[in-house]
């Protein structure tokens, strides 16, 4: 880095000059991977920036993008930054009132939408968006007859830009070169685990500090390749696909559509991948399901080599040397089992693979490392531009989140909260100075809100959200997330929430995984009509009870889960129960299912729940049903309840 203090657009220009013909972006279009070079990236961005300038967009103005990862949505974000503006990516599946809140809070004046679906969404909200002046779309399909003065195709804005550029030579270049690295570059709206989303203001310097720290910790090079398929609004995505991308100059690819990610991963074989724990858990569940459907020989060899890999990995993480026979067996396993699995997952070329955003179950973690995937935990926060610690290759272990990246320091507060200080610490929450003051100490330490400690090696260990670490009424403390992750490793449990603060024991609300439990029911010839019906089956309750009992075996007696309810729906972001990044909104769930929690602690055998359901179009309905409340001790021990009575069917819903 020769420039003293770069900005994201300055780095884009540098790349366009220094490696004009190297691939910057790849997108699968018409079934073929299309490449955009760095020069093209800059030219497209510059033309769009000129178009924005012609429309009056300038310093401090905000531009939002909405849609899946598409090259033009990146051109648009960087174009806004070129003019001293701020990019505000939004979640593509956000429902109307979330979107209105974010766009109005950020005072977005330009929205760039991926396609007709997103344009329709914005148009339906137009009356509520006083700041919106220009709506630009990428894919014109179905939009040809839309006639609104503020609605324009992407090409039209660029064409207007070229015209404007002809009269204002070097307009964009001038602004880019004069820009201050401390200018704001991005508003990242937190997924709002607890409340309304907050607009985290990040400067170019913040984002690039995190990008630099990551690049130095991991030796990421420009011939690396990354597949960006996570929501554009997630900070981890902006860090890798925007900041690190221009900082390092590697190639960033976008999948054809969300449903094809698995195949696109396989075709591309990216060298760097980042995915939330849920992705890994789902992948593992998928592998397990397929293995259980395979022929006996395949199934048995998979099982044997899986156990071998996990044992070997456990020893390796303790720093022990593996005996030669084990190593030979691993080689054979690699040939027969591990390499084919890596290939199926598209991780054959992967040099580093990260999981972050939430803790990952130790068993899932060991499985992937065992089969030769360099999976590592990273830790970060939106307020730190995404990332502040990563595990070195030879020190990966499921309990820590690794070492702090260069340029950042960590301190544990007296109450156990993790504090971090670095150049990546954000500029504050937009229009919320009080919240900012709460989040950052006077001397610049960010309160992460997570409880943790540093282990002997100097690795950071995160236990849970600081405010979630609970105490039972006898004073013994427990970490809910830790228990939930234990539960979620069961292939049959999709999501779980545990409770116990100021209560005599720990209880759980469980949402089953429909795929695996469905398969399990099929194998035992258990007929069921619907997901709700399946959830109400005593057999399924016994199954879940068994799974919980297995988790309990490794837990200290006082933090064992004693009672549980199997919910008759999945936790859904549209119902506000989990965030769009799939984190449980604990408090919300506690309020919503207060009746269930009461029943769990009162010792009732069943409880009626009234669930408000939000349909995809925003309509609401109520679903009444009766759930069985189970004791782990009752259902787990005699799992022979084969001839179980038909569970009570849910009361018919009044939903249409």
């Amino acid at each position: 880095m020769t420039e003293a203090a770069p900005t994201i657009p300055r780095l884009l220009r540098r790349n366009a000059a220094a490696m004009a013909q190297r691939p910057a972006l790849r997108e699968k279009d018409l079934g073929i991977w299309q490449t955009y070079t760095w020069r093209r990236y800059w030219e497209e961005t510059r033309d769009f920036a000129l178009g924005l300038a012609a429309a009056g967009f300038g310093r401090g103005d905000k531009l939002s993008v909405i849609g899946e990862n598409r090259p033009r949505l990146y051109f648009a974000q960087l174009a806004a930054q070129c003019l001293g503006g701020i990019a505000v990516p939004t979640y593509q599946d956000a429902i109307a009132n979330e979107l209105v809140y974010v766009l109005n809070h950020a005072e977005t004046s330009v929205v760039v939408a991926e396609n007709q679906e997103q344009v329709d969404k914005i148009l339906s909200l137009k009356a509520q968006l006083p700041n919106l002046k220009l709506l630009v779309y990428d894919d014109p399909r179905g939009l040809r007859r839309y006639e609104f003065p503020f609605l324009k195709p992407f090409e039209a804005v660029q064409a207007a830009g070229r015209e404007f550029g002809a009269n204002h030579p070097n307009y964009v270049e001038g602004i880019v070169e004069a820009a201050d690295p401390d200018d704001l570059a991005l508003f990242s709206y937190t997924s709002g685990t607890t409340s309304r989303p907050k607009g985290t203001m990040l400067s170019h310097a913040n984002l690039l500090a995190a990008a630099q720290g990551l690049a130095e910790a991991e030796d990421i090079r420009r011939d690396d390749e990354y597949l960006a398929y996570l929501p554009m609004a997630w900070i981890g995505n902006s860090l890798l696909a925007m900041a690190s991308h221009v900082y390092v100059g590697f190639t960033c690819a976008f999948p054809e559509k969300p449903e094809t990610v698995q195949r696109d991963l396989r075709e591309l074989g990216p060298t760097v991948a980042l995915a939330p724990p849920r992705f890994w858990e789902n992948s593992l569940t998928g592998i397990m399901v397929r293995a259980s459907d395979a022929s006996p020989l395949k199934r048995k060899s998979f099982e044997a080599f899986r156990r071998l890999a996990e044992r070997a990995e456990a020893r390796r993480s303790l720093g022990q040397k593996l005996p030669i026979p084990t190593r030979l067996a691993l080689k054979l396993g690699d040939f027969l089992v591990y390499a084919p699995i890596r290939d199926q997952l598209g991780l054959t070329r992967a040099r580093w693979v990260y999981t972050g955003g939430a803790p990952l179950g130790a068993d899932t973690f060991r499985f992937f490392r065992g089969i030769g995937v360099n999976l590592k935990q990273v830790y970060g926060a939106t307020e730190l531009a995404g990332l502040c610690s990563v595990q070195p290759d030879d020190e990966a272990d499921p309990d820590t989140v690794g070492r702090l990246i260069a340029g950042s320091e960590v301190r544990i507060a007296e109450d156990g909260e993790v504090l971090v200080r670095s150049k990546a610490v954000f500029k504050g929450y937009y229009k919320q100075p009080e919240a900012t003051q709460e989040a950052v100490t006077a001397d610049g330490w960010l309160r992460t809100g997570d409880a943790g400690f540093l282990d002997r090696r100097g690795h950071l260990v995160i236990i849970d959200r600081a405010k979630d670490v609970g105490k039972l009424d006898d004073g013994s403390s427990f970490a809910p997330q830790y228990l939930e992750n234990k539960l979620k490793f069961s292939p049959y449990i999709g999501e779980a929430v545990v409770f116990g603060a100021d209560r005599p024991f720990i209880a759980a609300i469980v949402a089953i995984d429909p795929t695996t439990v469905g398969k399990w029911a099929e194998r035992r010839n258990l007929a069921y009509t619907s997901f709700q019906d399946l959830c109400a089956r005593t057999d399924v309750h016994n199954l879940i009870g068994d799974e919980i009992a297995k988790c309990n075996e490794v837990l200290p007696p006082e933090t064992r889960i004693r009672r549980f309810v199997v919910l008759n729906k999945e936790f859904d972001a549209d119902d506000d129960e989990i965030t769009r990044t799939r984190k449980i909104r604990r408090r919300f769930v506690a309020d919503k299912y207060a009746a269930v929690i009461d029943a769990l602690y009162r010792g009732d055998r069943e409880v009626e729940v009234v669930a408000a359901i939000t349909y995809e179009d925003g309509r609401k309905a109520e679903l009444r049903s009766v759930l069985a409340v189970c004791d782990v001790a009752d259902v787990a021990a005699p799992a022979k309840a084969e001839a179980a009575a038909w569970a009570r069917p849910p009361v018919p819903a009044d939903a249409d």
Partner: protein, 276 residues
């Protein structure tokens, strides 16, 4: 983005008749399936044919596409008489159709099914196709490019390599539409494109039909039972009852027509209610 902008033609004038059906009748033994129907379809319009079961809708469509030969009357396409033309010739002239009961090759992939729709447009012979060199190869690439556009257009990217037998009903209907579109049709005949679909699939299909019409100016004739959809997307509606056309007009006119209300709903009802 990926669609061919150049083929799009502007909204046509209403009186530009593309397909004219004049005094067409068809009997099967003693059954008068279609009796003396006259219908003219304007270029670039969406025309719906509605009517109770057995009204002769599908028979009419079959005569337009050449599967049945009318006993009397004539059918012209762009002024050329196609009354006696064979189905393959009619297809060659740019008339594509989908079927009431899905007619896909179930063992073949989505991609291959759609590629088949290009068959009419392929020129390479058997031998050169086996050798796969020269024209055959160039042709295959060009046709594949067009098919990819359709896959993109109909949002089928994730299903390219899947056999159609495993697909959900609504998706198979969409693949069938893609195959019909692969013909680059001037006129698209859709026989109950939304039959058996749920609400979401119907909305998607209605959207696709409108998009096809808008994107390529394709004239669309559809048979459909869902009144809400028919009234929503059609420019013209023709109502058949027991083989005869009893009304034709804009959706609003047809909804008001007392004959239609009587024939369609047995009187005492209002078609506008059915359309809600």
């Amino acid at each position: 983005m990926a669609v061919d902008v150049a083929v799009y033609s502007a909204m046509p004038a209403r009186d530009d008749v593309q397909l004219a059906v004049t005094g067409v009748s068809k009997r099967f033994g003693g059954v008068r399936a279609v009796e003396d129907i006259t219908l003219s379809v304007g270029r670039g319009t969406i025309t719906s044919i509605i009517g109770p079961n057995g009204a002769g809708k599908t028979s009419l469509l079959n005569m337009i596409s050449g599967f049945y030969k009318p006993d009397t009357g004539s059918i012209t396409l762009d002024g050329a008489d196609i009354t006696r033309a064979r189905p393959s010739d009619v297809a060659g002239l740019g008339v594509a159709r989908t079927f009431q009961n899905i007619a896909l090759f179930s063992g073949m992939t989505v991609l291959d099914n759609i590629m088949l729709g290009r068959h009419v447009r392929m020129k390479a012979g058997v031998l050169s196709s086996i050798v796969y060199w020269g024209l055959a190869q160039r042709e295959e690439v060009a046709h594949r490019a067009r098919v990819e556009e359709l896959i993109d257009f109909l949002d089928l990217q994730d299903l390219r390599k899947q056999p159609t037998s495993g697909l959900a009903y609504g998706l198979r209907k969409r693949v069938e539409l893609a195959r019909a579109l692969a013909l680059d049709p001037k006129i698209l005949l859709l026989d109950e494109p939304m039959g058996g679909m749920n609400q979401e699939e119907k909305e998607d299909m209605a959207r696709f039909i409108l998009d096809v019409n808008e994107q390529w100016g394709t004239t669309i004739i559809l048979i459909e039972h869902d009144m809400a959809v028919v009234m929503d997307i059609s420019d013209r509606v023709a109502v058949l009852d027991r083989g005869r056309k009893i009304a034709e007009g804009s959706p609003a006119e047809v909804q008001r027509n007392p004959d239609v209300i009587r024939a369609y709903l047995g009187g005492g009802h209002d078609l506008r209610e059915a359309a809600q």
